[in-house]
């Protein structure tokens, strides 16, 4: 069964099509990742699926409910962790959870137990009575995750769940999410621009300029790229390319002092070819294709360009200020 089913979904802001007629579906119990640079339309899509934004066109169903006509049914089916914090930071952790439990009509008899469970799940039991303002970014994110699960949603939406967090916290949150999927069969829909997160999804869609460019499993996407990457660093890149071409039919290009090759079996190629090379090398690297390569190949640019880095830094800065 498809937990999320999207057809020709469209959202315009003025003359700009932030999301431009995308279609996809997400199997129940799977982890689905939306991979794309900032401004690609990821958050806009999530907001439409969560009933916060009305689509300009097309259709979307979540848990078999229409996101426009059956808003409350959709809302009861989903848990959401937003890109920016959505806690009341003047309240304590427990007060935030209680608000959530009450507004989602968790039965009174279950309320306290589920709150305690939620806190234990994310290791915050000892901070239950602390004001959220005193929490670190990672603690807030964990609390939000726990909160979004309290009403037992069928699908969890995570908009950049680990943005601006340190690697340790990121790993913890991921382990936690994968545990949820294993134990409760929860469907996860997440957006990210971290390649390692996209790798962990069952299926990903690469989105750019409001359109889905490709959607498949990470493994198959990488297989599509076929060849391994070999990078050779040298002081004389042009001479090296010349020499390589004279020996084997190979496509090579260089950026500065780095010469990049795309060959079927990188390790064998290096072992056979290298001893014969006359151009001196400074270093070499052989690697399997990554999703980053897939992305660059499909869009013609790197996902984390400088602009994205700057936005990230700014968001981290603002979050800290708060």
């Amino acid at each position: 069964m498809a937990m999320i089913d999207v057809e020709q979904l469209q959202r315009n802001f003025g003359s700009l099509a932030a999301v431009n007629g995308i279609s996809f579906s997400v199997e129940a119990g799977s982890i689905f990742g939306f991979l794309g640079p900032n401004g690609a339309g990821k958050t806009t899509t999530v907001k439409m699926l969560c009933t916060l934004l009305r689509p300009s066109g097309g259709q979307a169903r979540v848990n078999d409910f229409d996101v426009v006509r059956q808003r409350d049914d959709v809302r009861r089916s989903i848990g959401v962790t937003f890109q920016d914090a959505s806690l009341d930071d003047q309240l304590t952790a427990v007060e935030n959870l209680r608000f959530h439990a009450m507004i989602y009509k968790v039965p009174r008899a279950d309320r306290e137990r589920r709150m305690a469970e939620a806190l234990a799940l994310v290791d915050l039991s000892d901070r239950a009575g602390s004001i959220v303002r005193t929490f670190s970014g990672g603690m807030k994110r964990r609390l939000e995750l726990a909160r979004s699960l309290m009403h037992r949603p069928a699908v969890l939406f995570l908009d950049e769940p680990t943005l601006g967090l340190d690697p340790q916290t990121r790993r913890r949150i991921w382990e936690f999410l994968q545990g949820l999927r294993r134990q409760h069969g929860l469907t996860l829909f997440l957006t990210t621009h971290y390649m390692e997160e996209a790798e962990a999804c069952d299926r990903i869609a690469i989105i750019d300029h409001g359109a889905i460019i490709v959607s498949d499993t990470p493994v198959r996407l990488k297989e599509r790229m076929g060849n391994d990457r070999v990078q050779l660093e040298t002081d004389a890149p042009e001479a090296l390319i010349e020499e390589l071409r004279s020996r084997t039919p190979v496509t090579a290009s260089h950026q500065g002092s780095i010469v990049s090759l795309s060959v079927p079996h990188g390790d064998q190629f290096v072992a056979q070819c290298l001893p014969q090379l006359r151009t001196p090398l400074r270093s070499l690297q052989v690697r399997k294709p990554t999703l980053e390569d897939v992305f660059v190949d499909l869009t013609g640019r790197a996902i984390r360009d400088e602009e994205a880095e700057a936005t990230d830094a700014m968001q981290t800065f603002f979050r800290r200020k708060r």
Partner: protein, 251 residues
């Protein structure tokens, strides 16, 4: 079918925040209480004739109570902008509750805080030799509640339109201060120039002030039935506007 539980939860959150930040209540009491003392005693000698037997200090007390009500109502409604800024609004918007219950919860929250704040000022009454009966207190609560519900709704309507705090100063200067100054809170309505009298009559707060002054001092200018009707209509129109405006909200 109206979702009273959701209204209650929204209201309860505002109360929890209020209890948490108790120093706030002192800070917000300082302004009306200073006004009360300095305006009251400062202008007392100039207003001997037209302000009743209790003098200007007694005359201005209901006005200042209403000032506290007005400021608190608008301020608490403005909290919606904070909620938007700090993200909590999304937690409410994505929950399976109607936008209407969020607005009504917020309006009742603003009303509750306004009544509390107004009461603090009203507690000063004995200092000005004004003694309020039990019945007087009950009527005062009702008047403060009726006035502040509409004012909170007005604040929510404005806050729903605003994306940031940049417009906050404009609201204070172009809405809150005129409402206060043109309400007859500070001066009697007799003998005002026609244009000013006209503006005062158009201001819903005027009727709240007049009712309270009537109930405490017997100095009302308008029939109570008229004043109550104006407050009721104002409340209904404003809550409808707030619900409509808030429903336009996309996050």
């Amino acid at each position: 079918m109206f979702d009273w539980q959701a209204v209650y939860v929204i209201w309860l959150r505002d109360m929890t925040r209020f209890r948490r930040d108790r120093s706030q209540i002192l800070v917000s009491s300082i302004r009306p209480i200073t006004w009360l003392f300095f305006m009251g005693y400062g202008l007392s000698p100039s207003f001997k004739s037209s302000t009743g037997s209790g003098g200007y200090t007694q005359f201005v007390l209901p006005g200042i109570v209403m000032m506290a009500v007005l400021f608190t109502a608008i301020q608490s409604a403005i909290g919606i902008i904070w909620d938007r800024e700090f993200g909590f609004l999304k937690e409410m918007l994505v929950a399976p509750i109607s936008r209407t219950s969020i607005v009504v919860g917020k309006a009742i929250g603003g009303m509750t805080l306004s009544v509390i704040q107004g009461t603090i000022v009203l507690l000063m009454a004995p200092l000005f030799h004004l003694h309020i009966s039990a019945f007087g207190w009950v009527v005062s609560f009702l008047i403060m509640a009726a006035t502040s519900f509409g004012l909170s709704s007005l604040g929510i309507t404005i806050a729903s339109r605003m994306r940031s705090f940049e417009g906050f100063g404009a609201i204070m200067n172009f809405i809150v201060m005129p409402l206060f100054l043109l309400s007859g809170a500070l001066f009697p309505l007799k003998g005002l120039p026609m244009w000013l009298y006209g503006l005062v009559r158009l201001n819903p707060l005027t009727y709240g002030v007049d009712l309270l002054r009537g109930s405490l001092l017997g100095l009302n200018q308008f029939p109570s039935a008229l004043s109550w009707s104006v407050l009721l209509i104002f409340s209904l129109v404003m809550i409808a506007a707030a619900v409509w405006q808030f429903n336009q909200t996309e996050s």
